[in-house]
Symmetry: D2
Subunit: 311 residues, 4 copies
């Protein structure tokens, strides 16, 4: 049996839940939210659809003890409106203050439940809050990781594929670093239809910086139009979980702990039944290595600063 | 190629779009919304996920001319907030005023596009507005129908299956009539695991009226908790469309035109490539026939009254 | 994790394996066959396809110790050619002699493995050999059941739906009894689009006996044309397993133990995590009850006779 | 509507048909085989399963006129037993004699049908017979292509992923050339988890020639154990077809016409609604270019020789 749980059913958590149910991925799903009416509403809406799909998923709500034998735990809590207010003030790390409070509430409950599966986080600021979660739940660094730049990479693939009029799946390579401002596309890793994008860009006079900017702007356009983003992030989260359940040892980028930099940060890894099976070190250019270090340091420093301030 | 279009990407339209993309059902999808930023946001969010799924769906926005060769058109426009305000005043048909305006805007555009596929409506008041759409688009009564009590029936199945601790799919039978207050469960059509629910209720001392009320309350609980409902209604809409595309001649209940009562109303039908292939007349009890007539008359009368008032 | 095993990868076992892999249903799959080259060939063919599908399934072969934590065990062994020879001599129970030998080989190994999941059998003669398996493995009657007339019912649905030009899924009701000659369609349970087929047949002057015969002939036509049948039987087997994994408590017909008749026989049941959660007793007509008793008695008597003869 | 047709329902054609039906990919499927009983048997087996799956596919048989509005035509005819006999005599191109006769039979019928979709071939010798088909049907070189080394590449991915204990999907890169003896793995294109396999091989002292041989031996092991291969080849064929239907412009390797070498040969291409949208030229090493030319020349020469001999 595949048993999933989700803490926090805002737009992202709800889209994850729907994906797990409509595609018959989860056999059992536990939804936890401090807003009990919301948890109940999602439970009912997902149950109401089950007369119309091929599979069945048993759906439970608001019971931490169910985590004891849960395979995959998504942590998708957040307060998008708190975020909006802060963001207006130009503070990208604004959610940390809020999500730290969430972690302080949920981490002891996760710990007490006896949860020993794999946890996948989508909260923001993604890298820092996942580290905070790891520290507070006592889960191993292998067991807990975040979507991180798996989403940013998907957006880069989309933007590059538009440029070359092809399937986003034809675009390989990664966006490294923070799921935030200091991230960067490691263009040396990017291929389009098997061809190095750096070569293609030269031939066509393309400005890769502009493509990088377009990917970032795309995420922003979604946010401005809908006031949240959910489909792509939910799809990324579910995909990571499937690699865990089938012990696929699949190569994806995500936010996981870097021994080298002493922080969670977006980097390629192999995902299997224990979560992060290994981190993959690709031969980046010197410039990319510098950017990577900078991004990791940014996460680490801000984390330390804000951790102190808010305790 | 399976070509879909959606007019209106509020919560329902967006959930329909996501379902079509994540399950690889649509080869091409056209999203139309008067809120251009919203249409663009949904397009981008759905495109961003395509590097992470097996299939590809080409997604276009805001171009009515694309309807010329569209197979399935979902009309999922609405203004849930206008609805909320009216509803506070105790007016169940409150959305009609608003959705009629939408129809006046979109019907000529649909007509002009040369659309000749099948249209599935989820707007409210479901039965009346679908009739209004049919009249204003000039589409045949076969070609355009609505989810209607297909959703209410799913909710009844859920509530009954809870009572008997079984899969909702084990519950057959239908909720007839208006997708609204005057609807009723035709208990004589309902079986649980192949057994007549009326017999089972007698044996167990169950009150079927209470079950009917529970189903209605369930829909309300979703609405109260989330401020909208989307997963179950989107699942119903997509399921109906799949029956059209594969010419399945599947037996579902939906809101379609009744020659007998001269109105769109929730009744069992056979769905195939032309839309409504035939209406099915089940042997209801006298009491059920009376309720059905009452519900159909309610729709018809209100439609005529409101049609006059608002023109 | 969903862990499946299959004993016997002839055409049915291989089709079950492919279904589990191509639809991403199994996370892990253990294939066991006395023909080691065949087991290896299926393993390789299924592994070769994994670069081309979205999900991953880990595939192992020929290790009974893997059954210790297997959730679902399919037993799909058989010798279609032995069967053909015997069948030419007019002996429908011909496979029993052969499949009993298989059970004598595999039952102790299943027992020794510590298997404690749910076993689903497709061997022939289906009802008798499942009982023999149950007795020899020591699995509970709840834990082991067979596809039985779930397949014959699907064929009846197909034939009836052809007659009424509709989706086979619109046809409810069951073929009861032996997965063999003495089976019968309980027409009193059959509805088409919600209408009693007995009524419809009267109106249209349809001969239901002819439809029953057509369903049987259909199975035969498959056999004659392909020399085996696999797609429909594999689909039935997988569907039953999914109800177990998600604890769906779904109402299906299958061959399970009848307390009343003291034998495995095709009858409606509710399928959940323990296998057979309960047997459903539908109100059959007197004639149907007689046929059901006859069919159950046939299985029981032949089983006893052949059990003695071949020991 | 997605309309598919299959000419030839041996093991490969049948597996393609089952995949299209069980995954709900095809709305309509036409099966054509000179063995009418076999075509009928497959039709029935696939119809019998439709009461047990979520979607419906209308299945027709043996009517070439249905090709007029078919989107995708698979040509999967062959005579595996004729092949076996010849192969015993050490003649790899043995099937050509046989499949040419098939093409002479079916090509005029395809032409007469007015078929204007995309045709995907799996017959052997794959590259030569596809060219022969193209010439005889009058379909454009864009419209008709073959699975070719898409399968061999999948096998290479499997073998390499075994070596590195990872998901086959983590292995990128291609096997070029003939779907036969003269093929080769272009190791310069192969990456594992984003790392160049040539580098990894050096570090680990791996012999890439042995991996190449293992992939070839794997295909052979499947053949020896099952007497045919079907799951992986069917999966490859269906995947190619999905890229056509959704105009995915996906980068896959397949056998398509090379202007440079004047023959069909396995090379990377972009697949979209017209079939082959463009051929991709990757920067191979000199050694790989030589092997590629050799493989293309081999196909061309044998084709010309055998074409003369057998006319």
């Amino acid at each position: 049996m595949r048993k999933y749980a989700i803490i926090g059913v805002g737009h992202v958590g709800a889209a994850v839940a729907y994906t797990l149910v409509t595609k018959g991925i989860a056999d059992e799903l536990v939804i936890i939210d401090t807003n009990e009416k919301l948890a109940r509403a999602e439970q009912l809406d997902l149950q109401d659809m089950q007369g119309r799909i091929e599979t069945r998923t048993i759906i439970k709500i608001n019971d931490y003890s169910e985590l004891a034998d849960t395979d995959i735990l998504f942590i998708t809590a957040g307060n998008i409106h708190a975020y909006e207010e802060k963001q207006a003030q130009g503070n990208r790390w604004a959610e940390f203050e809020y999500t730290k409070e969430i972690v302080k509430d949920i981490a002891p409950k996760i710990k007490a439940s006896g949860f020993h599966g794999v946890a996948i986080d989508t909260m923001n600021p993604c890298d820092a809050i996942t580290q905070y979660l790891q520290e507070n739940t006592g889960l191993s660094q292998q067991q807990i990781f975040a979507t991180g730049t798996f989403l940013d990479t998907a957006r880069m693939q989309k933007v590059v594929s538009d440029q070359f009029n092809c399937d986003p799946k034809n675009v390989s390579g990664y966006v490294y670093g923070e799921h935030g401002e200091s991230q960067f596309t490691a263009w040396s890793t990017v291929q389009v239809n098997g061809l190095a994008v750096t070569e293609l860009a030269k031939q066509r006079g393309l400005n890769l910086d502009e493509l990088e900017e377009a990917a970032r702007r795309g995420g922003w356009e979604v946010y401005v139009g809908k006031h949240y983003t959910n489909w792509a992030i939910a799809t990324c989260a579910v995909k990571l979980s499937q690699a865990v359940l089938s012990d696929a040892r699949a190569a994806y980028i995500c936010s996981c702990y870097s021994e080298k930099y002493g922080t969670y940060v977006g980097q390629p890894a192999v995902i299997g039944k224990h979560g992060i099976e290994e981190v993959t070190t690709l031969p980046l250019t010197d410039d990319e290595e510098t950017k990577f270090k900078h991004s990791a340091d940014t996460i680490k420093e801000k984390f330390q600063l804000l951790d102190k301030q808010t305790n």
